[in-house]
């Protein structure tokens, strides 16, 4: 298989390069290879779009913490408070 053909066919490698590119780690050669691949491959163009969208959505998912789920119950807080007070008093 010719060099160019290998670039054009290799979606497996292209999807890895997309990942590296998102983190700013492409060599010039990789950058050019990815450009050539994406030019001819609509699957990977879509993959790239979706990959970026997934990154954004995962970030959102973690930042928007569910208020009900992410509250400690008062009993646990009181116990924790008592433990801290005790430790502080022991040391002083």
């Amino acid at each position: 298989m010719s060099y160019l053909k290998r670039i054009i066919y290799n979606c497996k490698k292209a999807t890895l390069l997309i990942e590296k590119q998102e983190m700013g780690r492409l060599t010039l050669r990789e950058f050019i290879e990815l450009r050539i691949h994406l030019f001819g491959c609509s699957f990977c163009r879509l993959y790239k779009k979706q990959s970026l969208m997934i990154n954004e959505m995962v970030k959102e998912l973690f930042k928007r913490s569910d208020p009900q789920r992410s509250r400690l119950d008062d009993g646990f807080k009181k116990e924790l408070q008592d433990r801290i007070e005790n430790l502080l008093n022991d040391n002083s």
């Binding site: 990942e19 699957f43 879509l46 979706q50 997934i54 990154n55 998912l61 992410s70 509250r71």
Partner: protein, 184 residues
């Protein structure tokens, strides 16, 4: 900036709990992590230099504890975690590297903003994330959410730089495939 441990629970406990639960997905464990964080912090109150806020300082301690959890969870299954046959990239591609027809990306159709749809989509995303092997999820989360440097992740999770890319690549391939399968 002076630390005030008597106010920690009131001021930071819920925040730290929220931070922990999104990362470990286990209420019991998240509680323990908050407690351990406060107790560890109490022991190094004198090491606090006042360069960051109290909350930032406590969060940094919690973060280290979460990495410990990741490490413990993934250490027993490391070889499996990288070579899970169900999640091999070769499942998606032809021998020459081209997408297999049935796995080729298809449009999700949520490119336009629709609040309700987005919420449902996020629910599926959450389920798909949960299906990833622990080590992959840890690496993925540390990279994309905590925006840790690649070198830091490799050191803390004890993976080589080559394996880091293998994991990041496979995690995304499988996450995307899972979304395509369950959304469209």
């Amino acid at each position: 900036m002076i630390l005030d441990p008597r106010q920690w629970v009131a001021a930071h406990a819920d925040y730290l709990y929220g931070y922990a639960i999104t990362r470990v997905n286990d209420e019991e464990q998240a509680r323990d992590l908050v407690q351990d964080t406060f107790l560890a912090a109490l022991q190094r109150v004198d090491k606090f230099e006042g360069r960051s806020s109290e909350r930032t300082w406590l969060t940094a301690i919690l973060k280290n504890k979460i990495v410990d959890v990741y490490r413990k969870k993934s250490s027993g299954l490391k070889p499996v975690a990288i070579n899970d046959p169900d999640m091999e990239p070769d499942k998606f591609f032809e021998e020459d590297g081209h997408w297999l027809i049935e796995h080729g990306p298809k449009a999700f159709g949520i490119e336009h903003e629709d609040h309700l749809e987005k919420k449902e989509f996020q629910l599926i995303l959450q389920k798909c994330l949960a299906k990833l092997p622990v080590l992959w999820k840890a690496v993925f989360t540390m990279k994309h959410i905590d925006e840790e440097a690649t070198e830091t992740i490799c050191t803390e999770m004890k993976v080589t730089s080559a394996n880091f890319w293998v994991i990041i690549h496979r995690a995304k391939l499988n996450l995307r495939a899972c979304l395509q399968k369950n959304w469209i």
